[in-house]
């Protein structure tokens, strides 16, 4: 089992490293990720939402639905713990 695991892990790692060959270099301001969607968030956030913290404005407004899902995830975890291990005396 350990050998199989080691092979699987090395294979995964090798594939992922192979994928990094065509990556843009680290911190490159001209990378696609910095040029395609994100500039609008940075440049328009004060104008459109009146919130200077871009992370907050993206989190709660542009992608606010993700955050609802995320809060639901943590709610699910809380309810799971109650269902699994809490005792009810009544």
């Amino acid at each position: 089992m350990k050998i199989v695991g080691l092979i699987a892990v090395c294979l995964t790692g090798a594939l992922l490293i192979y994928g990094t060959i065509d990556f843009p270099s680290w911190g490159d301001p001209q990378s696609p990720a910095s040029l395609h969607v994100s500039p609008r968030y940075i440049e328009k956030t004060v104008e459109e939402t009146d919130v200077p913290n871009m992370v907050t404005s993206v989190l709660a407004d542009y992608r606010g639905y993700d955050t609802l899902g995320e809060t639901t995830v943590i709610f699910t975890a809380g309810m799971s713990c109650i269902l699994l291990i809490r005792r009810f005396s009544r």
Binding site: T49, T56, R86
Partner: protein, 157 residues
């Protein structure tokens, strides 16, 4: 499994610290729009203050202050604030979570209504995160003497 552990230094230090930690948590939630922070971070800090209380005293001390029922209400109400704000936008004729529609209710312009909407949901997120963190911690840390009920729980056959 938190056994009561009497230590004057720890208890006094915690009693002094906890109000400030909670105040800081509220600040992080409220100031999330202007500086690093937000609902999650503030909620976790608030939850941590209660966890610190239960570490310094014991779990029952926390249960005395925040009962299980009240904790559950906090969990749900936080999410209700969040999804409710979205639903109000829906009811006002916009898309879900379109906070700018809130300017029909509030005496502000649509752009500032978005900022208020963001603040509202941050408060909701903070409440839920605080309550769930505390609830998970108390569930995991509580000692359960009677092992009987758990086995009977699984008797689905």
């Amino acid at each position: 499994m938190i056994a009561p552990f009497e230590d004057v230094v720890i208890r006094t230090a915690c009693r002094l610290l906890i109000p400030f930690i909670q105040l800081y948590g509220l600040y992080v939630i409220a100031h999330g729009a202007e500086s690093p922070g937000g609902g999650f971070q503030g909620g976790v800090i608030l939850g941590a203050s209660f966890i610190l209380l239960s570490l310094a005293y014991n779990a029952d001390e926390v249960r005395k202050r925040v009962s299980e029922k009240r904790n559950l209400i906090f969990c749900s109400v936080g999410l209700f604030i969040y999804s409710g704000i979205g639903a109000v936008c829906l009811a006002l004729g916009g898309n879900y979570l379109n906070y700018s529609r809130l300017h029909h209710l509030l005496p502000v312009d649509p752009v500032y209504a978005r900022a208020l909407g963001i603040f509202g949901i941050e408060v909701g997120v903070g409440m839920t995160v605080m309550a769930v963190m505390l609830s998970i911690f108390l569930d995991l840390a509580s000692k359960h003497e009677d092992e009987g009920e758990m086995t009977s729980l699984g008797m689905d056959r």
